[in-house]
Subunit: 209 residues, 2 copies
């Protein structure tokens, strides 16, 4: 065989192995991202969030601080704040969460909050009213720049991802690919989606061509 | 063309149209089926449930009577009872519901309750302890005997069903086909599954070959 043929074969084997290996799936519970302005309003001027636990995405962490989300019908207490501070605050809930709050939240990609509903956040007696930012996160896969090449996907691609489980296997469509050299490859779904596929720790996802 | 060829063409066109037409999808909230023995225990000897609203499946109805489901960690109040009485009681919750109750419920087909956890039901001061019957319903399609032929499916088949929505399309795998001449064709999913595909009233399902 000539070299080109061998290279081609190696590439195909690597692609196939990567496809079959899949990637980790993580279920995200409801959480809040805050701007420094809103951290100030809820915790005091210049307050710094306390790191409780680092998340899979480098630099991202769950803070020790919690807030209450206040809707017209009800509240969700003890909601985790994810740090570090962002340029705009954003509240990510599930469609299940929207019901007791008495709000409607659109499915949106993180950061795409123009025209989304506002919501009230509370810490003790301090409240802040967000004018927008209440969303149900669109399911997505964080892909490292290196893995994007191996997986043959690009920023913004919409893909199908197969999840295997004993009783509730499914294929998620409308999964957004987000690529960054700051990412670790992992798929994020919310708990409605997690329950719909009997997600458990260690569940893996496989892109379906 | 000869007659056989025409018949064959007609069959193919009918099959294709039926495939493209799909079937209605319905989301089921948490509910309880009760044996007459358990109706007696909760509402009094010989009590008859009051029909509030008929459901899509002929003869099945939501009763006016409600019960509380009591778990080790919490309770779900005002849970609808579906009638008529069955030979065995069964409590159908979502995986989301299991959390506040503090129980684990397996994904099972309706009626397949051997080895499932028990649970306590309450009406006022009356309680009954089910020894088994707490399940998360396995997603399924009720198919009328006539539609089963048109759709080329049989009792017990496991199929894939595509759901189209603006942001959360998906393909449910592990969908059980249940055929009866007493059924009206309709797919049943729970609210975790409904939220995972942005279900709304009128959503249709399409079997994927």
């Amino acid at each position: 065989m000539n070299e080109q043929l061998i290279d081609n074969l190696v590439d195909q084997v690597v692609a196939k192995i990567n496809e079959e290996r899949g990637f980790l799936v993580e279920a995200s519970g409801r959480h809040v991202h805050l701007s420094q302005e809103h951290i100030d309003a809820l915790f005091g001027k210049g307050y710094q969030l306390t790191i409780d636990k680092y998340l899979s995405q480098p630099g991202q962490y769950a803070a020790k601080e919690r807030v209450t989300i206040l809707g017209p019908k009800g509240a969700l207490h003890n909601v985790v704040i994810l740090g570090p501070a962002r340029s705009a605050s954003q509240v990510e809930i599930s469609a299940t969460d929207a019901l007791p709050l008495g709000v409607k939240a659109p499915v949106r990609e993180s950061g795409d909050i123009e025209g989304t509903p506002g919501i009230v956040l509370m810490n003790g007696s301090k409240t802040v009213t967000l004018e927008k930012g209440l969303i149900v996160a669109k399911r997505h896969v964080h892909v490292s720049a290196a893995d994007a090449i191996k997986m043959n996907v690009a920023q913004g691609d919409i893909v199908k991802v197969r999840i295997n489980s004993e009783q509730r296997s499914l294929i998620f469509d409308d999964v957004v690919i987000r690529v960054s050299d700051k990412f670790v490859t992992a798929m994020h779904i919310d708990y409605d989606e997690a329950n719909a596929c009997s997600f458990k720790k260690g569940t893996r996802g496989y892109i379906v061509k």
